[in-house]
Point group: C2
């Protein structure tokens, strides 16, 4: 009997052994499990002894014993002292393969509301006029590497272990000083939170402040990533048309009921580029205070202002009462760093941390420590100064090339800041079609209408920061030849 | 008139200059803005010429011009050609400070549902018996640093730019191979998603599959982080009591309506430590298929099994149809890395990526590249083998010390795996009180009841992986003296 059973094993084992991966023990484990699950070994059936199996299969006794122990530990086999080894009697193997379930997967309604943003994202290809990326060639990689090695040597425990959900204290300290000095942000290390890029700040803020069905005001046109975060929190989005001065607080005042929050880009409206003037800032804050509206200030590329020093943040004017200030290092350093921050009104800190903890715990330690050193040693300010010179040159090269080659096709929007230029079509043509044609011709150009909610706008967004002047001029010529 | 106005400026400027930070230009900007916002300079009022201001304040003309240009750009001042400089007429400054808003902040209901997990988290202090952390001393830091420098040199563009929301392709490839070989997970690089630690996987899965009010089954006792993620998605949690074999599919079968998902730890039940036997695995999968329940397999510390090779994943038995497989590198490498993964049934991939993109875009590039090399070059498998030897020793030292010093107080639960031991009190005393007393005595010990939902359990969780044998023995002695 034992010999006959062992004979059956030889039959099952051979094909597994011939094609299988892993050790012989893995292969035997797999063969027996497959026989049990497939019903070839019946529930309760007695198995040959491990000695008999080893001899018939040409395996070492230890190999067989180890595989059998594993199958016993997992409950496929049971061993009764003195009686031998049996296939477990209680395995409901016949239930394992009912007719394949052909129902569609049942997702949450909320996940259906999250737009297909990732499909819009460009592949890693960095070609003109890719948006939202700094000049990575100009990034001081060697310095970054040196700081990386230093911080890892100096205090590995801080960087390897569980971290503070608010962020590394040294980074919050350096950042609080930097934001107060450079942007007039009212903050302390206790109200600065480190997050995985500005996108996470927007997502957590949306979940912190909004329940499904709550109203949120957004700029039209405006940043799609912000709309995505709000939409995936179930918010009802009310677009507020941006005029030549930017977001209009009078429209906000006319909304009834009052939105729970308004998300905007006061320093440099995305994508149109204007700066919100002081009168509107004050009116907006007055409105926010009297009606209890939270203002989310997305200061995504405030560092690069070519007409003068960076603007003071709306948050500083407010004193940090109704304004949540969001920033990122994706534009000023590099997107792959995935570190952003949010400065919160003090009463929101606890709730935010609860959500951050449930969302992903805390930001990784090592990159935070490198960044903290980079800021504290003055390299950030220095890098921004250098990049401002570089980008100003690239920006004017782009403007000049557009004037020279495309003056009859495109009107650049006036803007003194940022890493991209928005141009509108003189003939108002379909910008999505144009953008697709440019894409095929090797240019990465986003249509302006992608950022609009309820408005008819037709134009292109041209990122210039990552491309040398000559490349920009050549790319404009290519662009013009495709558009004509 | 100009001279008189300049005289007023001197009065406002001096205190700012004496205490202010930043350049003289910053200080002048701040002084004028403050005067405008404070109403000391009336709306529409004419300002002295920049020449007069410069002379009265003892500043360079360029300094004054730059500050005035900034104030003009921001809309606090307006300049009329030929007529001079004026305070803007349209500033609603009187609205800026209404009586302080004393209403409590209005958070979303959902954020109130997110439990106060971060307060429970231990500070970075690594002392016995801190949970969930590997032996950071034994981590090959120099090797990690070397791989870091190499990857940064070799392909900085990949690491600095915008990344794939699914994760770095090289890492998904290495991980898919590793998971198939070591855990029998059925996957391809296209179904492996890289996330910011297992916590983010749980959070995104909850949002992907559950709407507020949907039912989710959880183990009781079970992992609090999983409950947090489900709760913050608005799920209604149904605790399923864990018996000596682990999660009981018969209880799941009895639930009506069927939960949308069940979250469990089949390899090594957290916190009790048993392994789900094959019969229950098969019954669970049959139940999941017939009623359309998603199973989330949280395989948080599967790598460390001391009685034999790591168990095959439930996911592999299912073929990846109803099971979402979640893993982390926090336990096997270090928590500060913040990288985890989830293997998804193919139909869930798109929805998951939409949520990941809206949540935080993608995982940072550099750590992913280091990890990909670490796995592909075989260092991960090697590290796990080394750590398994180390942890097995530490685990038996802890067991021996408990037997020797605390046999009359504590009963260890049998478990062949993991980085902690769960012990129960023989006298069933209040474990929260005991845990607080131990905390004060310098030991980090979590009460078992913290992980229970509806059950009365009393015990302690003792992490052993990060502590040498002698330290463990001394800590057990301290623990006993506190408990007596």
């Amino acid at each position: 009997m034992a010999r006959r059973a062992a004979g059956r094993f030889v039959g099952w084992f051979r094909p597994v052994r011939n094609t299988g991966s892993g050790t012989l023990q893995d292969q035997l484990y797999t063969a027996i499990r497959r026989a049990v699950l497939g019903g070839e070994l019946a529930a309760g059936e007695r198995l040959p002894s491990s000695r008999a199996l080893a001899s018939d299969l040409g395996l070492g006794r230890n190999t067989v014993v180890a595989a059998v122990e594993r199958l016993t530990a997992e409950g496929y086999l049971t061993s009764r002292r003195g009686a031998g080894l049996f296939v477990a009697a209680d395995l409901p193997v016949e239930d394992l393969r009912p007719p394949a379930d052909s129902r569609p997967p049942i997702l949450s309604r909320r996940s259906a509301a999250a737009p297909d943003l990732h499909a819009e994202r460009e592949p890693a290809l960095l070609r003109p006029f890719a948006l939202g990326t700094a000049s990575l060639d100009a990034f001081p990689l060697e310095l970054w590497r040196r700081l990386a090695v230093q911080t890892l040597r100096r205090r590995p425990g801080d960087l390897l272990g569980y971290g503070d959900p608010r962020g590394l204290p040294a980074l919050r300290q350096a950042l609080a000083t930097y934001l107060a000095d450079s942007r007039g942000v009212v903050c302390s290390p206790e109200t600065v939170m480190i997050v995985s890029g500005a996108q996470q700040a927007l997502d957590l803020i949306a979940r912190l402040l909004l329940d499904p069905g709550d109203v949120a005001a957004v700029e039209d046109p405006g940043y799609a990533g912000a709309r995505d975060a709000l939409a995936s929190a179930g918010a009802r989005l009310v677009p507020v048309a941006v005029d030549n001065q930017g977001f209009d607080p009078a429209i906000l005042a006319g909304l009834s009921p009052a939105p729970k929050l308004a998300m905007l880009t006061p320093s440099h409206q995305f994508p149109l580029g204007m700066t919100l003037p002081a009168s509107r800032r004050l009116a907006l804050l007055a409105e926010a205070r009297s009606r209890g509206i939270w203002i989310v200030e997305d200061d995504y590329d405030c560092e690069y202002r070519y007409g003068g020093p960076p603007l003071q943040a709306l948050q500083g004017l407010d004193g940090g009462e109704r304004v949540l200030y969001v920033g990122t290092f994706s534009k000023v350093l590099f997107p792959g760093l995935r570190l952003g921050y949010v400065v919160l009104p003090e009463p929101l800190v606890d709730g935010f941390l609860r959500l951050k903890t449930a969302a992903d715990g805390f930001a990784p330690g090592w990159p935070q420590a490198i960044l903290a050193e980079f800021i504290a040693q003055g390299y950030l300010a220095q890098h921004i100064r250098r990049m401002r010179v570089l980008y100003r040159r690239r920006r004017s090269a782009l403007l000049t090339a557009i004037e020279r080659h495309a003056g009859d096709l495109l009107v650049p929007r006036l803007s003194e800041a940022g890493l991209h230029l928005t141009v509108e079509f003189r003939d108002g043509r379909d910008d999505k079609k144009a953008s697709r044609a440019l894409q095929e011709a090797g240019l990465t150009v986003g249509p302006l209408s992608r950022y609009a909610v309820a408005r008819g706008l037709s134009g292109l967004l041209l990122g210039f920061a990552a491309f040398p002047e000559a490349e920009l001029e050549a790319a404009v010529q290519r662009l013009v030849s495709v558009l004509r």
